[in-house]
Symmetry: C2
Subunit: 203 residues, 2 copies
Amino acid sequence: MQPPKRSRTATRARLLEGALDVFAERGFAGASVEDICDRAGFTRGAFYSNFASKDELVLALFQATTDRLLEQIEALLPELASQPGTLLDAVLGLLDETAPDQRQWHLISTEFTLHALRNPEAARALNEQRAMFRASLTRLVAEISATSGVRFSVPPEQFVRLVIALHEGARSQSLLEPAEVPAGSLEHTFLPMVLDAVSRPSH
Amino acid sequence: MQPPKRSRTATRARLLEGALDVFAERGFAGASVEDICDRAGFTRGAFYSNFASKDELVLALFQATTDRLLEQIEALLPELASQPGTLLDAVLGLLDETAPDQRQWHLISTEFTLHALRNPEAARALNEQRAMFRASLTRLVAEISATSGVRFSVPPEQFVRLVIALHEGARSQSLLEPAEVPAGSLEHTFLPMVLDAVSRPSH
């Protein structure tokens, strides 16, 4: 007999996976809880015993994606502390690879952001989730800059906001024109310039 | 009696304005041609004698917005040629001001971009429109750098792509957290650093 906890985790995972597919096909607004249950092979009862709403499920997807990214960055920390110059390459590499299907993830995260711009409750929840992610990334940037003796001329959180903004804006261009803007190319070209500029001693 | 051309232009303008409101409220997918006609006070016949589809109307909105921006930048050219350092401030100022309702414009343009990611025909049309806009901006950047004797270490089009990516990504953060990320703040902080970095003589 499977312990109940494991079964519950497996149900959640299958619902999240099914939702990814359904959202990518029909969009956040166009996908119903029923569609997600059909895809995952569960009843609405199973859905609602795991998630209070479609919004809560999407936020769980955000959380899972950012948790995975942060874990991967933390695993690199010992190596980065001895080679601080490679931080940006490492982070950019992870951003490229974390979401195996960048298109799917871009569609879902952008659609939920638009939903949040029309729905204050969703905005609060999304902002909270994004703030936790930024705080974790900011802590890592601050740690690495301390270890490597580099002083930032801007608050590390501003730099993290820049990385996120550029990555999200560039991803849209890469998905629309994959041949002209290979994934990660704008980030790889321009972020090292900014890192270099903010790492100079303040004057 | 009004000449037919003027009346046609006025009908188009009213349809575009009505569509802006309806899209912002209901989203691109949720707004029907009928909703737009109701808002603008026209029949479906009037709509289809001006636009072949909802997609074509949105592309006309993109065109009108980018034309306005380019006109404003061109009007600044004589001044910029004598004070090249102010180029970025001028462009950033225009980006801040061009769409009087940044939220509305962000919702519509992002939604149409998502639609294009699921619809190859819409993607072709959107990419064509964006390519024309980038080409005009690139020509202006190249003119100004030639006049001011500055050499770019990256192709000017790459710099234009960066400005667009950062602006679109930053706008999302500003709309979600207006107090933490005032409109234009990430662009004003970081783009001058990049401009400085790419303007150095190549070595």
